[in-house]
Amino acid sequence: MERKFIEYDFGRVDSERMRLNVGPQHPSTHGVLRLEIELEGEIVTDVIPHIGYLHRCFEKYCEQMQYPQVIPYIDRLDYIASMNNEWPFVMGVEKMMNIQVPERVEYIRVIFAELNRIANHQIAVATFGMDAGAFTPFLYLFRDREMILNLFEHTSGARLLYNYFWVGGLAHDVPPNFKDTALNIIKTVRATNEEVMRLLMGNKIFVERTVKVGILPADVAINFACSGPVLRGSGVEWDLRKAQPYSIYDRFDFNVCVGSNEIGVIGDSWNRNIVRMNEMEQSCRIIEQAIAQMPNEGDVREKFPKKVRPPKGEIYCSAENPKGELGFYLVADGGNKPFRLKSRPTSFVNLAVLPEICKGYMVADLILILGSIDIVLGEVDR
């Protein structure tokens, strides 16, 4: 077959500038992302992200699958925060079918979602540190993440792709020592976070590297529909858990962390990460409260519908994922398969802002800015 010539205009090419392909095989693109960057010396003048290397037709598959079968596919979107991913989908289907899940299920869901948020932020901060050349905090944070994954494994049987939140309940009940384990995890997480704050976030070199790098003003962030720590790092107090409380988040006392001018400038790479660090602490607080309030007895599977067959209609259900707002626009035609399931992929939307904020910085900064946005290519490409 003859190879077609692909025409696309990426603007004027200046002969004195150098075009550099960062990725798809590059140590710090966090997956198979290809950035076509234009350099003037070491200054980045343009960035064109090319995505889709991991595209696997998620939405097309969903149209062929029955509702419960969709959940494992959803796990594979943002495979670092699978628990959180499943939530908006099952919540959407439950809303369509008018299922009120038991209290105990809600509490377990909150605890797991928050634990997974901690795990995700640990990876985000760790890999961000590694982008800056600090390797040791990476392993400290991964050591703690291991505990969270072990708990998930004991509960759901899987370490990464859990398939745990089901429509109307949960796949399994929690293990007997669940509460103690979770409290123990919180204790360790807090201790390590304190250490990481000193070792990494407060490190003079690290601060110099990340402060005033990749400044994302609040209005630009909103215009690009950024969400999660990227938006909150720019000082916008927007957290779906507070703004549109879903599930039982209105019962907990926690703060929405936003960036500040304290060390960096609002919206810079350092602030995006300090938001993540602070959110881990808030998640710990939520988990503590949830464990204290959680009912001990109750069946987590009693509300399973016999047939998952939402009535004709459509719903957009979103939840605050670690990376931002993950939503599913679900169109049901009354059958047992979704007519259309469109996801609002957080990383996809957040990545779109990258070309906007990294012009004029150096190559090394570009890598840091990319790291501070915290993308997962599984979600970008779907």
Partner: protein, 158 residues
């Protein structure tokens, strides 16, 4: 503000362009508008005091079997209200104005809708495929899509 009030406000401002209000028993109500007017309507929704939909959460392309469509999910961070707009497009050569100049985030969403459904967005700065390879044939999320058999000489498993 309630969805109904926003709809009334919009209907008053654009009597011809706003076509229909779909309220469902379950799920979100939505408003169908004329595809050709989508840019003006969105601009109004963003800039009008009291509405200020500054956040485009999601732009999806749709294939309703007999027609195509686009769906816009809007938030207002200030007033914390949401609104859903829909457009319907003909089967042949679907195209409508781009809202990229209103919400930059629409850039990639519209490219995705083009990539998956072949819906063309006018005035879009860079209307090329985004997820599929640039020389892919067909629009995969259309209901009547039949995949390529080979791509650059490589057989595609079904």
């Amino acid at each position: 503000m309630l969805v109904q009030e926003i709809y009334d406000n919009l209907k008053e401002k654009f009597p011809e362009a706003v076509l229909e209000f779909i309220g469902t028993a379950t799920g979100d109500p939505s408003t169908v508008v004329d595809a050709g007017q989508i840019y003006n309507i969105c601009k109004y929704l963003r800039d009008q005091d009291g509405l200020e939909f500054d956040y485009l959460a999601l732009l999806s392309g749709m294939d309703y079997k007999d027609k195509f469509g686009t769906v816009y999910h809007l938030y207002s961070l200030k007033y914390k209200h949401r609104f859903v707009i829909k457009t319907y497009l003909p089967k042949e050569d679907p195209s409508l104005p781009s809202v990229e100049r209103i919400w930059k985030t629409a850039n990639w969403h519209e490219r995705e809708a083009y990539d998956m459904f072949g819906i063309k967005f006018e005035n879009h700065p860079n209307m090329i495929r985004i997820l599929c390879p640039y020389d892919w044939e067909g629009y995969p999320l259309r209901k009547d899509y039949v995949g390529q058999e080979t791509y650059h000489g490589v057989r595609i498993p079904v």
